[in-house]
Amino acid sequence: MWLKILGSLLVIIASVSLGFMLAAQYAERPRQIRQIISCLSALKSHINYTAIPLPAALVQSTGGITGPIAELFQAMASLLADNGLTPQAALNQALKDSNKLVLHNPEREVLSVFSANLGGMNREEQHKSLDLAQEQLSRIQYEAERLCEQNVKMYRYLGICGGLAVVIVLV
């Protein structure tokens, strides 16, 4: 009897935590996109007004931000400075190395396109490409927030009810 109760509790705890983990992933994605947008706007001013080298600008643009996005930009800066990669290769490498990012394909594509134009043109053109990337990212962010609103509640409910259903079927 006690063994059954213990097992049921374990099953319920596992499924609830699974549901909450999936929900947290959906809640995390708009936050990371928002952080990327704020990093890009800081980067834009570092390119346009301070005109410092790209690795330093990347590191400075993460000021005030913590978490995977700051780590991504810092990793990209150190790859640029140490290994002499092109910005696009550095960003792709940094994206591949980081395992805490929950970014999907559209925003990865936008970042890849933006990094291909980074450092290869004069200020006005870079300004334009950064503007374009920001605009695209804010559209993606809007979409991600809509998905988040829908899915967070659903995954929590499904986690709890799924655990209860498994317990009922097994007991």
Partner: protein
């Protein structure tokens, strides 16, 4: 005694499936909601068919039908 047990089980599954259906429908996944309901229905049907089989066996035994 066994019948009462399975009755409560079926009731529990029914309640949970209705919650599943509502949650999935709210998230805009009507197709998944219907699939979920169908899965619950199939599961309960499996239990009920077993019970019905037992009932028929009992009837056969009682009236000596072979």
């Amino acid at each position: 005694m066994m019948g009462l047990d399975i009755l409560f089980k079926i009731a529990g599954v029914g309640i949970l499936i209705s919650v599943f259906h509502t949650a999935l429908k709210q998230a805009g996944k009507e197709d998944m909601a219907h699939l979920c309901t169908l899965a619950g229905f199939a599961m309960v049907l499996l239990w009920v068919v077993q019970l019905l089989g037992r009932l028929f066996n009992t009837v056969q035994d009682v009236f000596k039908l072979f």
